[in-house]
Assembly symmetry: C2
Homo-oligomer: 311 residues x 2
Amino acid sequence: MSSAVLWTDVAPRDGLQNVSATIPTDAKMRLVRGLLDAGVPRVEATAFVSPKWVPQLADAAALLDALGDDALPRLRVLIPNSRGLELALERSVRNVLVTIGVTETFNRRNVNRSVAESLADLGGIVEVAHANGCSVDVALSVAFGCPFEGRVAPDRVSDMCARVADAGVDEVGIADTIGVATPAAVTHLCQLMSAVVPAERMSLHVHDTRGIGVANVVTAYQSGVRRFDGSVGGVGGCPFAPRSTGNVCSEDALLALTSLGATTTANLAALCDVASALERDLGQPLPGRLYRAGVWTGTPVVDDAAEKRVG
Amino acid sequence: MSSAVLWTDVAPRDGLQNVSATIPTDAKMRLVRGLLDAGVPRVEATAFVSPKWVPQLADAAALLDALGDDALPRLRVLIPNSRGLELALERSVRNVLVTIGVTETFNRRNVNRSVAESLADLGGIVEVAHANGCSVDVALSVAFGCPFEGRVAPDRVSDMCARVADAGVDEVGIADTIGVATPAAVTHLCQLMSAVVPAERMSLHVHDTRGIGVANVVTAYQSGVRRFDGSVGGVGGCPFAPRSTGNVCSEDALLALTSLGATTTANLAALCDVASALERDLGQPLPGRLYRAGVWTGTPVVDDAAEKRVG
């Protein structure tokens, strides 16, 4: 199958949504522009959600206006419901992401709907979006574990994958919302998923909460997944794990994937520059590793510190 | 082949050697004791190297004395040469690690010898050590890349692996000293290595400098490697990459390995407690992830922050 990876950088949405610091709209614009200029195929720029729940993204409309029409073809926007879709279409958004929790408790607390209601709404959202030239991706939240219901049966997730795929969505993603996925769990769920979703429409969204995010991405790639979410610099966090880090770091994960023959339009050195700029804007170091050390070119680096090196 | 992994925690040596803060000997003793109590099969406690080069480890003898004889069977000590072996044997050390740089420049700057001289010395070190009931492990530094000579030919590394194995050492390790290994490079080098070194004697030592350390460990495990080095909390750094993180995090890597069926005597929750204690002793957060989020037990965790969660 193809070695081309469709990487979506979700730093402006999932990343910034989960850091305490808020940055001005023009800094967000620089972030999104930087990611697009770095060759990232797609950027999840923001979300049309209640500012009451997510104040960090209250400037969604202003950000999209500032980015301009030329950026739209490579932007994705998260929407929780039909109302969010209306707001997105008003801004000519071409790609939206709908999240549906796999468990009743999570979905209820997340979008105040039962899973059945969310699945029922999906058909209408897809119909309206497609009629307006907007593609619809779905991310199944807490697919590897739920903070309220604990373990989640993989069959339950693959059943939802099938129902979501049948609804005609353009991408079906499994999201490790709380960072509890493992390589073994990823392999198992990807196998079940590939039986009900075309490989080219499968997606994986992982958080590096427990330090094995890149390993999970590599495992999913080896299982045939070609669409992934991550955040530049690994910016972000998790409301269910204080002090924890964010989404898997885009440039770190892409370094591992490209070593295995995966191809991407993203430039890793340019992504490192974007991470460094974001670090300055947020005023705090990011979890990512590559942007601190730099892409190794294979050429010698002389350093006096070598004198002190033993072992 | 066996699923049992022999994990060596090198935080007290490679980790502490590469952090600016120095901690008192009694804190190091608590660290080593904590690691042993957490079930880590082996701990690289310190090194008998010149305090002029590595002041952080100047208390090697005092630390070993404080740890006492009962700890010795599970401790490893780094030695740069025969003089280091003498000092280790004076303290009844049962397992030493000799590092040999794969490149002339690195080895010269590291131990002030040519590679040929280091290999020649090795025979005598093995003879004396074995005669004194002490096993000898060798780590081939900069096996994946050298800061002074750049790329390193895998054949050159496997040739050295063969010569080191022929010298009768008990473990042959390839060390990614500057954190430039990738899953593809690990797979390739492990394949070459397995042709000249018995699988049960192969070892991998990686740094998480570029965020793919755990992925590299998983890849090596899948290639048949069962011996690994890492540091609790991922403590450490790299003199060739300012601001970079340290060895691959022991508990994060073991989380990934055990999910794949690998077995270890180490207890992950206990390792997280050791990392938290080390964070307090060093007065700074460690790079590791799992110790911040905690081991996920699969049971529900109710958290009001969920109200704010969208996506």
